[in-house]
Amino acid sequence: MASIDVNGKSVEVDEEGYLVDLTKWTKEAAEILSAQDELVLTDNHWEVITFLREYYEEYQIAPAVRVLTKAIGKKLGPEKGNSKYLYELFPYGPAKQACRFAGLPKPTGCV
């Protein structure tokens, strides 16, 4: 099993780079995961990651892209409440890439 090094501690990830144990997530882990994709997390990234984690806490699943864009539109302004903006933040897709940074499991299915 692969792992990432977070402040000297080894945290397990699966073959696609998602955390195996969601409780092991920390902000540092998110930064290391994003660095793997050559991304530097800004405040706007963190807004998305925080929302994803809150939603997951309540519903045990990542939000639909539509739910996420609406929430981000409310927080960051309507011009940012669209999936184009989210793709600018997370080029590999808000659902998959942002979930990985947030320590959530990968969404499965025809998505």
Partner: protein, 501 residues
């Protein structure tokens, strides 16, 4: 996940037979399913010690169970008609992606164990033992077939490579080497009710949010009912319709159509999935178990009709297999098809004048239609041959003023696969991008010739696959739309609801 580096195929000035690059797609195949995913489906957790004997026994079982399989294995005359018909072959140039070569991976073992000549003189008839190398080749190359069946259209004997791929995948599952993407999803359906793993509270929250959006957009209370006992219609739709873009706009389209028809309808949280990945892995037992959930939901909710949303292989299972898998459905209203496709439902209402459409609402779009493989080659819609081609096109044309078909040898029964199928996973992204080449070329042509801006489809996998691969070919990811998104934008909603249609 580190970025995968690979060359994106270039558009060809005109279709040519690819220059072969033997072994270019040789590899370990997609990620292998974890033990818990395998076991949830009734398969061994990992590759068993006596895999060889179990695989040969299973092949013997399948040959008895499916006469078609033996006919397909016996009847190939190596005429070559299929060789350049596979999108993966065209996109990758790997000769093992020629449908005949893919079949031969299976056929060589069949000949060795199930034909007299192969038992006595294996070398003379191309028979081979099932070695570990051959098994690994199976795993790799039978996961480079999306089971789209385009090759079978051109085969003079009608050999269906998809059935051979399905048999190979079932044998692989039986010896403990399943594909992670498909098997993880089927396990989720058993546990939670859909491919996504979307639990009821999350589904309810999503639907409520969409009701709010529709209210904001139209000023009308358009409902997305969940688990309503006694509703007339049960909508079975892919869970991607609750989650992904542009799928969710299609779901909004269905809701508007149901509203305008004054229909009583519901979604089920128990059967919140139309997709049936049991088909992709060739497992009759798993396909039946997934389908059984639809039957149970229909009985529990006491509905009269079942309507399927936009999902390609779901419609194949729905149209072609549902009755034999989990029928009879004599408890439903027999005046309607069991099941009915949402396109049939909407088309009928357009014909009756219940659904009125303002074409000018889509004047900012110039459209084409991508026929999804399973709908095109394995099903029908309506009561006329070719209805599965005509009905979605008629709906689109009723919704817009500008519609252009792609080249005739890339649509309808000759349609090219999107490149996704049951391989819609990030670990196969290279294959997915390369396999999309023929469709992207055909799209490019209508974009150049007719200024086409959008391509509509009626399959969740096609929509997700295109959203992902379109940018590799220089198109915007939102070039792909749901057919019912066009309906959603063009439908004229009235507050005075008509009687049920």
């Amino acid at each position: 996940m580190a970025k995968v580096k690979f060359d994106i195929p270039e558009f060809r000035p005109y279709p040519t037979i690819p220059i072969l690059k033997p072994g270019v797609m040789k590899g370990n195949g997609p990620f292998v399913a974890k033990p818990d995913m395998q076991e949830a489906l009734g398969f061994p957790g990992e590759l068993i010690d006596d895999w060889h004997d179990v695989a040969i026994d299973k092949m013997g079982d399948l040959l008895k169970k499916y006469r078609s399989l033996r006919v397909f294995l016996d009847s190939c005359v190596k005429c070559g008609a299929c060789t350049d018909k596979c999108h993966y072959m065209i996109g990758t140039n790997d000769p093992k992606n020629m449908p005949v070569a893919r079949q031969d991976l299976f056929r060589q073992v069949y000949r060795r164990h199930f034909t007299l000549a192969g038992k006595l003189f294996p070398k003379l008839v191309g028979a081979k033992d099932l070695t570990r190398d051959v098994l690994d080749d199976w795993y790799n190359y039978f996961h480079q077939c999306s089971q789209c069946r385009r090759c079978s259209v051109f085969c003079p004997y009608g050999i269906d490579t998809a059935e051979i791929s399905m048999a190979a995948r079932e044998i692989l599952d039986t010896v403990g080497k399943g594909q992670k993407y498909c098997n993880e999803i089927i396990a989720k359906v058993y546990k939670i009710g859909n491919n996504l793993g979307l639990p009821k509270p999350a589904l309810a929250n999503t639907l409520e949010g969409l009701e709010e959006d529709m209210k904001d957009e139209t000023g009308i209370d358009i409902k997305m009912p969940l688990d309503v006992e006694g509703a007339d219609i049960l909508l079975i739709t892919p869970s991607a319709d609750f989650f992904a873009e542009p799928h969710i706009d299609g779901l909004i389209g269905y809701a508007k159509v149901f509203y305008q028809a004054g229909a009583s309808w519901t979604i089920s949280s128990y059967a919140s999935e139309a997709a049936n990945f049991g088909m992709f892995i060739g497992s009759y037992e798993n396909m039946r178990e997934v389908a059984e959930r639809i039957r149970k939901a229909a009985i529990d909710l006491k509905v009269k009709r079942i309507v399927f949303g936009e999902c390609g292989h779901a419609w194949r299972v729905g149209y072609s297999f549902l009755n034999t898998l989990v029928g009879p459905f004599d408890f439903l209203d027999t005046r309607y098809p069991v099941p009915q496709h949402i396109c049939e439902y909407t088309y009928d209402l357009i014909q009756k004048g219940v659904v009125k459409l303002d074409k000018s609402a889509n004047d900012h779009r110039r459209l084409t239609f991508h026929d999804s493989c399973n709908v095109a080659r394995a099903t029908r819609m309506g009561d006329k041959p070719g209805g599965q081609f005509d009905i979605p096109r008629e709906i689109i044309k009723a919704c817009c003023n500008y519609y252009y078909d792609m080249e005739p040898d890339t649509i309808k029964d000759q349609t090219y696969c999107c490149g996704g199928g049951g391989l819609l996973t990030d670990d196969l992204i290279e294959l997915r991008v390369k396999g999309a080449l023929p469709r992207m070329e055909a799209l490019k042509q209508v974009v150049d010739d007719h200024g086409v801006t959008h391509m509509a489809a009626i399959c969740a996998i096609c929509k997700s696959q295109f959203s992902k691969v379109l940018p590799y070919y220089g198109f915007e990811m939102d070039t792909i739309l749901s057919v019912h998104q066009l309906v959603s934008d063009a439908i004229v909603l009235t507050t005075e609801v008509k009687t049920p249609g």
